[in-house]
């Protein structure tokens, strides 16, 4: 560490002269910068944004994940045993989306690879159930990543059967003490269980339970019932180790996590800026309104990913003129993230379309959610025009049909049956895809909405 710092200073002296252009500064370059070097506010802001974005967008952490100490230890020891002792293992990491499964695994792997006796000893194969949608593709991918002999460049030769035989042969040849352990990471593990016969899983788990090349099969999934997906003989071969990532963290921990996530690291080039930034972040977290936003977010979900999304929105509002995250930024971000998507669409529809939606809402009220057709909506609309409306122009029927079709295209209404070829368009049964609250909110917010329309919308019966 001491050596590191002295090298730091030395390098910074050399690099100081051409340290004018910072737009291209990356993390490697930032290390070269001296802490004492002066940077413009703009440089500092962009640098801070860069660091934080890196943190939010890639699931990378430099510190052990909070609240997951035991899980972290379990996984680390397990993989280390595979690497060091050549013990075959299988494990599932189960947790809701965004609970940090991949993050934990990446962190553990990073830690492992830093160890001297592990680094050169393991091979890693990463598969994803969303990418390797069947065993054929998965096998090719494994063969490619293991760099076995029938790989030329990135291409894998041989039929499915040959590849399977090839891979099994390779794994069978190995033994516990001499061959290099392979760590298989199966992201979206549950999707592999849907492959035909679960051939891949059977074989991987079978290898892990027999005296062949040492493997560790690490599955990542968010399904709590994943074991029920496995066929009985596949299940029997799985070691039944599950690491659950179910955090029971409270709001204060959450707040602390927000603070640490927003703080810039200590090795930030400009110490003055970083101090200011960190202080402001601390102040931000103590702000009442911010706390409210965060609590709302916390109530909605505890996961990392949605939090990162929120913070990313707030971070985007940091500019040179306001070089810190203000409470208002976070409030705005909170509003954005909690906004209803359909309400947004309703802002853009024409007044006629809005009227039709109101008519549909009334029909829903009258018929208790039964489907309706265009004729019914049109009748309702005409009733409104003739009785109450003074401002709305009496549109021709084709125009109304056009508006109706537009709503259908926006998927605000949806036909009940898929095959609508035989039924005349006017009489096709439809359902409204909006809730009452959404309609009312849209009417309230609609710019320059005529009063009679508004009244019509809120009235209990048409």
């Amino acid at each position: 560490m001491i050596f590191h710092k002295s090298a730091f200073v030395f390098l910074s002296c050399i690099s100081f002269t051409f340290e004018t252009q910072t737009s291209k500064a990356n993390s490697a370059m930032s290390k070269r910068k001296s802490r004492e070097s002066h940077m413009t506010v703009g440089q500092c802001v962009s640098q801070a944004q860069k660091v934080l974005r890196q943190r939010f967008c890639h699931q990378e952490i430099s510190t052990p994940p909070v609240g997951l100490e035991s899980q972290h230890k379990h996984l680390l020891e397990l993989l280390r045993r595979t690497a060091v002792h050549g013990e075959s293992n299988s494990v599932l990491i189960v947790g809701p989306r965004g609970s940090g499964k991949t993050m934990l695994l990446n962190y553990v792997l990073k830690e492992l690879l830093q160890e001297k006796d592990v680094k050169s000893n393991i091979m890693l194969v990463r598969l994803n159930g969303l990418l390797q949608t069947d065993d054929r593709i998965a096998l090719k991918e494994i063969t490619r990543q293991l760099n076995l002999e029938n790989v030329v460049g990135d291409k894998v030769f041989g039929s499915f059967a040959e590849n399977l035989g090839f891979l099994l042969e390779a794994l069978k040849k190995g033994d516990r003490s001499s061959s290099r352990p392979v760590i298989f990471v199966l992201d979206e593990f549950d999707l592999f269980a849907h492959h035909k016969n679960q051939t891949l899983l059977y074989n991987l788990l079978d290898v892990s339970q027999s005296a062949q090349a040492p493997v560790a099969v690490v599955g990542l999934t968010c399904r709590l019932d994943v074991l029920e997906l496995l066929e009985k003989r596949v299940k029997s071969r799985f070691s039944h180790r599950q690491i659950h990532l179910l955090s029971s963290m409270g709001f204060s921990q959450y707040l602390e996590m927000v603070r640490s996530q927003l703080s810039v690291p200590l090795d930030f080039p400009d110490s003055k800026f970083s101090d200011e930034w960190n202080a402001s972040v601390k102040k931000l977290c103590e702000d009442k309104s911010v706390e409210e936003v965060l609590r709302k977010h916390f109530n909605s979900s505890k996961d990392f990913r949605s939090l990162h999304l929120l913070l990313l929105l707030a971070l985007g509002r940091v500019t040179v003129s306001n070089p810190v995250i203000r409470p208002v930024d976070l409030l705005e971000a909170g509003r954005w993230s909690s906004v209803d998507s359909k309400a947004n669409i309703l802002h853009g529809v024409s007044i006629l379309e809005l009227c039709l939606i109101i008519a549909m809402k009334h029909l829903n009220d009258i018929y208790e959610g039964e489907p309706f057709n265009f004729q019914m909506v049109h009748n309702e609309f005409k009733k409104f025009i003739s009785r109450k409306s003074h401002t709305i122009h009496n549109f021709e029927k084709p125009v109304v049909i056009k508006a109706f079709e537009h709503l259908q295209q926006l998927e605000l209404i949806r036909p009940v049956e898929a095959s609508s070829a035989k039924i005349q368009k006017d009489y096709q049964l439809m359902k409204l895809m909006l809730d009452h609250t959404q309609v009312l909110e849209a009417v309230q917010r609609y710019p320059q909405c005529p009063t009679d329309v508004r009244q019509w919308a809120t009235s209990a019966f048409a």
Binding site: E77, V84, H85, E87, S88, V94, P96, D117, S120, N121, L146, E149, N150, A161, F166, L167, E169, A170, L171, K173, G174, R176, S177, S178, S179, R180, T199, N203, D206, Q209, A211, A213, C222, R223, L224, D225, K232, R233, K235, S236, R237, H240, R241, Q242, L246, S248, K296, N299, S300, S301, K302, S338, V339, D340, K342, A343, R414, L434, D435, T437
Partner: protein
């Protein structure tokens, strides 16, 4: 060895020490208390009293039977003296396939209390050789290191199925009745160490039948009577003696076939008696000996001494060395034979026994047999050792029938025809057996000659017996491969041609019985072997299957750092508990093992085919048991107890398509790579056409159900091939469901599969406990209670051994990490096991609900509320959303938007706390709970 040869000439006389102590009037027999054995030419006499341990003359000179005298009696006229005994069995008397049940290597002086009611416990008193001391050692104690060689130890009992610990009181049936017999009953001054080694059986002594475990004597008798077409056979059977091994192996074959019995006997007959030969040579003072000869003899002596210390091993050693005398560079071959013949009478004459009734019968009923023996002895020295080792008992079947009178009468003239009979029989019986011999000869020749050279240089006898043991292990693998490799050498190494010639001629000698002197052989100097060594070394490296670059076998790169070996007790335990660590034996599956073994063995021996269906839930040891069977059979085949066979394994899960089965089978059979259709036709051809030298193929089809196709032709073929006349195919199929044949197979397939079925029951908790215990093998890492907990829990859930082992493994981890040196004993305790069980079996749903965010919990509550309102277990998202908003208001939270609520709903759906329809249905998406409502309420209430 010299000691034995003197013993050989010993003549014993038996008489009662005192009058009868009691009389059974009904049976008209008298009971006695002790028996005096008078050895001719020695003043001392041995007294055998009740309760004493005795040695009874057996087939194996070096290891006579051990027993305890229970009763001594004679019939009314006092002519036939008999003894009732409790048998003890030596390790080397156990059948090969049972030996591993011991789970450890046996002590050299270990015997087992033989607990089998079917074994006849009456022996002729005249077979008693002397006394021995047997000590009981409690199971957990080690064997004493410095025990005298005349003491045998007993720890366990053997009931023909399993080793058990037993009550030491069983060994003292006379405790109350009489005082323990004196320890040493031999007063002979002549014998330096009176009971040192069990005295050697006089060759031609008559014996009372010792009927060893033959549960079905009727079958045996029938088979033997069918087989006893030759006088030899009759003679053999008339003695009524059977080696325990043969008896057991025959018993093991549930379908006892006459052919098997025959083959067994033939093999036994072929085996001759190297010990005799040696004795003969040694006891011929007139024989001119070259230096090598002397050395060889010296060597033998050395080995003989070793023999006394380690009987089971040393047997091999002596045998190994016998060829030495044959390939002496001296021109003694003819002479030797002459010597043999001329010496036979000499050496045999002293031990001419007092003829008994049985003896008489023997000698009369034996026709050609003794002739064969002498011929055998003279000629086929080399092949015998191997066979003798394989079936030591069997070889001696014939021995007791060899009376000196006959031996004397056997002439060279008579030898020819008898030998040809032998050769013929041998030929049709087991061609492989003869083929194996070269290797053993070479190997030992190598050993010996190198030793001789050393000897010549150093002149130190003692060093040799030491390294002899080293070479012992690798010599112990005679197999087909070796045969091939040796024949390969034959082709490419010209230097060896002479050597090969020797083998060939020897073979031919054996076949024809011609006594052509082997000039080439005699010319060989003992330095021939070193030249051979390099090629020998290359032999193992020559690949079994020729590799073409196209079929390059893939390998996982090897690791850069060596794997660390387990350090502490827990790590050792963990390594042993890993499912992959192959256990020495599979406990708790003895019956299944035996059944499968018998099935395959009988098919292999008969050269027929058959199918067997094995079912059982996962983790009950189906595949492991079959592999174990195959391993044992392969061992037996290597020892030439059964013909060679070929094992092929396919797994339905390890192929992409059922038709790939053909490809894999063919590839494993012939190493060809072809398309499935082509492979099917090739296999069809292979299995339906006769081939001259076809060995049986044992095919294991794992996960049979995956070979199902719509037309079921794969299964059909697999089960049809074994029924072909020339197929010699045994198919073992494994699947999980018991009624698979009925459920998925069409009639013609199910019919061909046949009804040979076996189902593996899930393990009971006791079995699971035993499995863990046997894996741990005295590594003390678990508390007893915790093991019981695990096994009970697993037995209650699935009976899956893998699960059980995994839990134990996890428990060791937990124990290690919880590492609380103050509290724990370092052992895995209840708490650790409980935690492991919790991790593996408890469902995470409740925890997941507890850890869910506020909105998620509210949504679940809304779902339940909506279900209650509707009275259904299903609701649309829209309906739940209304409830959700209402609940938000009740809880004083900001009402959520539809999007947020939907996000919450999807998150719960991803965890499978809720079951959802595809999300494109939007508001109309139907929601169901994947957990019971009670669970949800319980989880939420506890909050």
């Amino acid at each position: 060895m010299s000691r034995y040869s003197t013993r050989l000439r010993v003549k014993r006389s038996y008489k009662w020490k005192s009058g009868p102590i009691s009389t059974d009037r009904k049976l008209n027999i008298h009971f006695y208390e002790s028996l005096i054995i008078q050895v001719e030419g020695k003043p001392a006499e041995t007294i055998v009293t009740l309760g004493q341990y005795i040695l009874i003359e057996g087939d194996d000179d070096d290891n006579p039977y051990v027993a305890q005298v229970l009763k001594l009696f004679s019939d009314e006229d006092g002519k036939v003296k008999k003894a009732k005994v409790q048998w003890y069995i030596r390790y080397c008397e156990l059948p090969h396939n049972k030996r591993k049940l011991l789970g450890r290597s046996a002590h050299a002086q270990e015997v087992f209390y033989y607990n089998d009611s079917s074994c006849d416990s009456e022996v002729d008193a005249e077979t008693i050789l002397g006394t021995v001391e047997v000590k009981h050692i409690p199971g957990e104690l080690p064997f004493p290191d410095n025990a005298s060689k005349d003491t045998l130890f007993v720890k366990l009992s053997w009931d023909t199925k399993a080793f058990k610990s037993f009550d030491p009181d069983l060994m003292n049936p006379f405790q109350n009745a009489m005082t323990p017999p004196p320890k040493q009953m031999l007063q002979s001054p002549m014998q330096k160490s009176p009971t040192l080694t069990p005295p050697i059986t006089p060759k031609a002594r008559s014996t009372t039948p010792r009927v060893l475990p033959t549960p079905d004597p009727m079958v045996m008798k029938r088979a033997s009577s069918a087989a006893s077409q030759t006088p030899y056979n009759r003679g053999c059977m008339s003695t009524g003696r059977r080696s325990s091994r043969e008896a057991e192996s025959i018993h093991s074959a549930s379908k006892l076939s006459a052919s098997k019995l025959l083959s067994g006997k033939r093999r036994g007959r072929i085996a001759s008696e190297p010990a005799i030969r040696k004795k003969l040579e040694l006891s011929s003072p007139g024989k001119k000996m070259t230096r090598e000869d002397v050395l060889g003899e010296l060597l033998d002596d050395d080995l003989a001494q070793q023999l006394t210390t380690s009987p089971p091993r040393s047997l091999k050693l002596t045998i190994r060395l016998t060829p030495l005398s044959v390939k002496q560079p001296s021109s003694k071959d003819e002479e030797e034979e002459d010597d043999d013949i001329s010496l036979q009478p000499l050496s045999q004459s002293p031990d001419k026994p007092t003829p008994t009734a049985v003896d008489e019968q023997d000698s009369t009923s034996l026709g050609v047999c003794p002739l064969e023996d002498s011929a055998d002895e003279g000629v086929t020295v080399l092949p015998t050792p191997l066979r003798r080792r394989a079936t030591p008992r069997r070889g001696s079947l014939r021995r007791q029938s060899r009376t000196p009178s006959q031996r004397k009468s056997s002439s060279d003239l008579l030898r020819e025809p008898s030998l040809s009979v032998l050769a013929e029989e041998e030929h049709e019986d087991s061609p492989v057996q003869t083929a194996v011999t070269p290797r053993s000869r070479r190997k030992c020749a190598q050993l010996v000659s190198s030793r001789i050279r050393k000897q010549l240089g150093v002149g130190d006898c003692d060093a040799m017996s030491l390294d002899d043991e080293d070479g012992d292990d690798d010599a112990f693998v005679p197999s087909k491969i070796d045969l091939h490799s040796s024949s390969d050498e034959d082709v490419d190494a010209k230097v060896e041609s002479d050597d090969e010639l020797v083998i060939i001629t020897r073979k031919s000698r054996k076949m024809t019985g011609s006594h052509t002197p082997q000039a080439t052989e005699k010319m060989r100097p003992s330095t021939r072997t070193p030249r051979k060594t390099p090629s020998k070394k290359t032999a193992p490296t020559t690949p079994r299957t020729p590799k073409t670059p196209r079929h390059a076998t893939p390998v996982i790169p090897s690791r850069n750092q060596p794997a660390r070996t387990p350090g502490n007790v827990l790590e050792v335990a963990r390594a042993r508990l890993h499912v992959s660590s192959v256990p020495e034996s599979l406990p708790c599956r003895e019956q299944e093992f035996q059944d499968i073994y018998n099935f395959v063995e009988s098919k292999v021996i008969d050269g027929t085919g058959g199918c067997m269906y094995i079912s059982g839930v996962p983790g009950t040891g189906k595949t492991a048991t079959v592999h174990e069977v195959i391993r044992s059979l392969q061992q037996a085949a290597d020892l030439d107890e059964i013909p060679q066979f070929r094992f092929i394994e396919i797994n339905g899960m390890k192929m992409t398509d059922p038709h790939q089965a053909y490809v894999q089978i063919l590839q494993k059979l012939t190493n060809q790579k072809v398309t499935p259709d082509h492979a099917a036709s090739l296999l069809e051809k292979r299995f339906s056409n006769p081939a001259p030298k076809k060995e049986t193929t044992v095919l294991l089809v794992d996960e049979l159900d995956l070979l199902w196709t719509r037309k079921q032709n794969v299964m059909y073929n697999l089960f049809d091939w074994p029924t072909r006349r020339h197929a010699r195919l045994v198919v073992l199929t494994i699947a999980n469901t018991m009624d698979l044949p009925e459920r998925i197979m069409i009639n013609r397939v199910a019919s061909r599969l046949g009804l040979t079925r076996m189902s593996f029951q899930p393990y009971t908790f006791k079995q699971l406990q035993q499995i863990i215990a046997s894996r741990l093998n005295r590594v003390r890492a678990f508390e007893e209670d915790s093991l019981q907990l695990v096994s009970r829990k697993v037995a209650a859930l699935s009976g899956d051994a893998r699960r059980c082992l995994d839990i134990c493994r996890r428990a060791t981890e937990i124990c290690e990490f919880s590492a609380n040196p103050k509290s724990g004993t370092g052992l895995v305790g209840m708490s650790h096991v409980m935690q492991a069980l919790d991790e593996m079996f408890s469902s995470a749903y409740i925890t997941a609900i507890r850890c869910a965010s506020v909105q998620e919990q509210l949504f679940l509550r809304a779902v339940i509320a909506e279900f209650r309102r509707l009275g259904l277990e299903e609701a649309t998202f829209q309906q739940v959303f209304v409830q959700h908003q209402a609940l938000c208001r009740v809880e004083g939270l900001q009402p959520v938007s539809v999007s947020e609520s939907q996000a919450v709903c999807q998150r719960l759906g991803a965890c499978r706390l809720l079951l959802l329809e595809p999300s494109r249905l939007d508001l109309l998406l139907r929601v169901r709970l994947n957990v019971s409502q009670d669970d949800v309420l319980y989880a939420l209430k506890a909050d």
